[in-house]
Point group: C2
Chain length 360, copies 2
């Protein structure tokens, strides 16, 4: 990782553990991805599941993104409330979600993916009842087994959607989550195999008179390949904005680390390690280990829900501020309620993580 | 686990994924622990780090608990705002925390543990500046290496605290987090060894004229042993109220499962599994695997941040409600903003998780 110690030494958050965004790195990442999409005439629909923050989303739209992707109904609601006028729910919507999305669709352009006729009928009924229209995408499974129809089943679902009121068939989604974190050579091979399959599906749809308006998919790991292949009309990348250890360690992505966690040494009674106030409730353990950025050369090990060990201390003493880079950005963000956004001189802004889980 | 399918079949939460508390099981657990403490004349100071919910905390106090433990300054603030009049912060407080705790101490009885003279001086300065008094506990390390002084160093820190304004030396803490999840025989052996050490420390303190007012510690796993040993004056158990797979599988605890996660099947296109809407952001992976309660006989495997697989489907179809028991309750609660509290007939109440992380 590039040297961020000069920047971090200027940042003094008023409490810990907190997430700190390096504004300059964020802005550079946003501009890089937008320029790459613009150069190919491809739409950027940034994924809001990663940051859950409408202030960050508004920045993405101001830079040229056409809208945000959401993974949940709650995210879509928060983003529309936060001023995002075009949202696409990229995961199958549970039955309880359609009426809530229909209520949103009176205020914003609302899209949703579907992988069953049952979902299409539920969406249509809710849209018709509310007098609104959903942008409907057929979700195609690129082999993850999580959601989406097999490519061969896509045309039939397209026909179902086209026959239902309240649904505007907008295109197809082919999102390859399982390719994003592959090392470069394996990623290129997997991407190439899927692109062949996707091209065949698009040809089949065209022959059937069903050319899709949009082909949405792609992510931070495959974005360069997605843009080069020319099959997607819309890129769904999310993590590029803030990055994490998992994406940074791939070695071939041009984005800078823009997200750090500040913690405090709360106990320092051992030569082997110091104890900080960040554990499983501040740093989600999914993904590779959290990386210690300062003190340089130390490692982090969780010590329960609210504590972690910094091994060796590397000069850190009781009361000192420590800095880590999250292993996997998305679920760690989901544990927090806001970002402190820092200028290079340490001036702090506060952005609520307003799309985090709300069920009450 | 006892059969909960009759109860769960009555519960229809309006959205998923959500945490559902079985009120009858919660009330039974609260009553059991309170009665066990009462029978020995020991105070129950329930740990609020687990539930982060002042409504649940108020129920514990109404049943006889003297107050709540907190693991963070933010939890203490939320609990005092939520009507809890006596809080003890059971982890070392970072430097930025003392002024905030001093502001609280004008409205509630506020205790804090300390494991260094530096902390004692910082606490004293903040208390003196605000004109308040902290209940100060010396944190003794039972061998976890996380926080706390070695037993031999406790008397000196007691003397430091006794000499500082704004601090009322209230006693010692000896919390054995590393014993709580041991199997019964190993737990008894570890508990017995630590109890000998603790008794020796108490004898040393008494000989030095420093008999502590309170000896606080213990947890859900060791509570029966703690009460039988008669060394603690105050039990800090938390998980007993809601339970989880990790504690339930120990086999010797009398508490009932009271917390479940409801999820929805959102895709069902494979014979091998169905996909539900609960992943790493709804069920924290720390601890043993999440347990599928319904459909009976299935297993859960996370499929990314927002999805999980139920393997085999066990009859579950698209749109169906699924039920899981969290592997480890504390960090999973930290991912949510509220509990749906269900009566046996399915009537739902809503309790905010109001002590979850707030940094803005």
């Amino acid at each position: 990782m590039q040297d961020v110690s000069g920047f971090l030494s200027n940042v003094k958050p008023p409490m810990t553990p907190v997430l700190v965004v390096r504004r300059a790195a964020l802005e550079s990442n946003l501009a890089l991805m937008q320029a790459a999409c613009d150069a190919k005439g491809v739409r950027l629909r940034a994924h809001g599941k990663m940051h859950k923050c409408s202030a960050l989303g508004r920045l993405q739209l101001a830079g040229g993104a056409v809208g945000l992707c959401c993974q949940t109904v709650g995210e879509a609601e928060a983003y529309v409330a936060g001023g995002i006028g075009d949202v696409l729910v990229t995961a199958p919507v549970p039955p309880w979600g359609w009426a809530r999305l229909a209520a949103l669709a009176g205020h914003a352009r609302v899209g949703a993916v579907m992988d069953s006729a049952r979902q299409a009928h539920a969406a249509s009924a809710a849209a018709a009842a509310a007098g609104v229209t959903f942008e409907a995408f057929v979700d195609v499974d690129p082999g993850m087994g999580r959601a989406g129809v097999a490519p061969a089943d896509a045309p039939a679902l397209v026909q179902t959607i086209r026959g239902l009121p309240g649904l505007n068939w907008a295109g197809i989604q082919g999102y390859c989550g399982h390719h994003q974190h592959l090392l470069p050579a394996e990623r290129a091979a997997a991407h190439s195999a899927w692109t062949r399959e996707l091209r065949q599906l698009l040809a089949d749809l065209r022959s059937a008179g069903l050319a899709p308006g949009q082909v949405t998919g792609g992510g931070t790991g495959t974005a360069a390949m997605d843009l080069a292949a020319g099959v997607y009309t819309e890129i769904q990348a999310g993590s590029y904005a803030l990055m994490d250890v998992e994406y940074g360690d791939l070695g071939d992505l041009p984005f800078q680390p823009a997200l750090f966690l500040a913690a405090t040494v709360v106990s320092a009674r051992h030569a082997s390690h110091v104890t900080c106030d960040a554990g499983h409730k501040a740093l989600h353990p999914n993904g590779p280990p959290q990386r210690v950025v300062w003190p340089v050369g130390s490692q982090y090990r969780p010590m329960g829900d609210e504590h972690g060990a910094i091994i060796p201390p590397g000069g850190a003493a009781e009361g000192d501020l420590l800095w880590l880079q999250p292993g996997h950005v998305d679920p760690t963000v989901a544990l927090h309620d806001g970002f402190f956004v820092a200028d290079e001189d340490g001036a702090l802004d506060r952005w609520p993580i307003d799309a985090r889980r709300a069920s009450l």
